[in-house]
Amino acid sequence: MAHDYKMVQWTPFKRTFDLALFAILAAFLATFIGASVMAFAGDHSIAPIQLLIRAFGACAFALLTFILMIGPLARLSRRFTPLLYNRRHLGVACFMLALTHAGLVLLWYHGFSDINPLVSLLISNPRYDSIAGFPFESLGLVALFVLFLMAATSHDFWNAVLGPRLWKALHMGVYWAYALLVAHIVLGAVQGEKGPLYAVLVSVAAGMVASLQLVAGAREARADGTIAPEQEGWLRVGAPLDIADGRARIVTPPAGERIAVFRDGAKIYALSNVCRHQGGPLGEGRIIDGCVTCPWHGFQYRPEDGVSPPPYAEKVAAYRTRIEAGIVFVHLAPAALGAAVAPSLIEAGVT
């Protein structure tokens, strides 16, 4: 929860995470280069810089594939939720790998003429009407630009400046970048390969990402379709003690966002399920130190009014609740943003 601009708010966990990430990427690059040296030995050898181009490109694509799997995996199973916390570190690392790949390509394939290498890259192959000869480098350049925009705005400072809606819309560009990269590889590296390995690997990667996104999307659509019973503006939630202490039950209204109904001891509160930061599911979080805590990035809100504790100022809508005949109900209409809503109290002896 950033209040002032600090480039990185380092914690011991983040340092360990980044060191582990660096080690894994270095191991991938070393393994790829080693395997390529053996594959391209003797008469088929290629220049060391070409090995590096392939290695950095492959590493960037593999990392982006993994990054795009994190979101839907976290939807399908909570054990993957911790991977969301530092996903931005993976994204920035992916951009750095892609930038290195692009830099080496410009140097090796476009750096030895009088023309500016970028201009050379864009004008040297005009065969947009051919599939086998398609100027695939242009596709990679557009994808790199998208990744650059995302890496440059991968900070809560930009989330606050642009607003969550615009920021999220910008970062949804990652899906377009991925599709462009699949085309970049299929119309580029795959065309020059003798065997089917690259085509198979790209197909498997794209297939995994697409399948996970579609399966997670179908699951969310089913949840959206499971509307809680409504009576005169009140949604039925269930028995109060069926909600675990410090946790929530999420209910879907006929329209609008889902509502997270929390139990904190003998008190029942209800907040919007959508975190103000990046839309995380507050109802899948817990109450920690008296605050509802988002499971994605740890943003916190007071359960009584949906306002973040000082010095932070984020707000989510709070909802009225009532307990009648041993059943919790939540009102459809949210209270005014920031307004306090009294909790419902579970009477002693209620089961």
Binding site: A132, M172, V186, Q191, G217, D224, E257
Partner: protein, 45 residues
């Protein structure tokens, strides 16, 4: 994510998945035709 984002995903991902599938099939087909053309040219020589 909020409801609007979920609707966006529901529209976007089937389109992207189909687009990627089309590109992969077209690319593999083009590669196959290229290899056949190269093989035919080598035989002719």
């Amino acid at each position: 994510m909020n409801r609007r984002q979920r609707r966006g995903h529901a529209l976007l991902w089937p389109l992207l998945a189909m687009a990627m599938l089309v590109v992969i099939v077209a690319g593999v087909h083009a590669k196959h035709r290229l290899e056949q053309a190269v093989a035919a040219a080598s035989e002719a020589r």
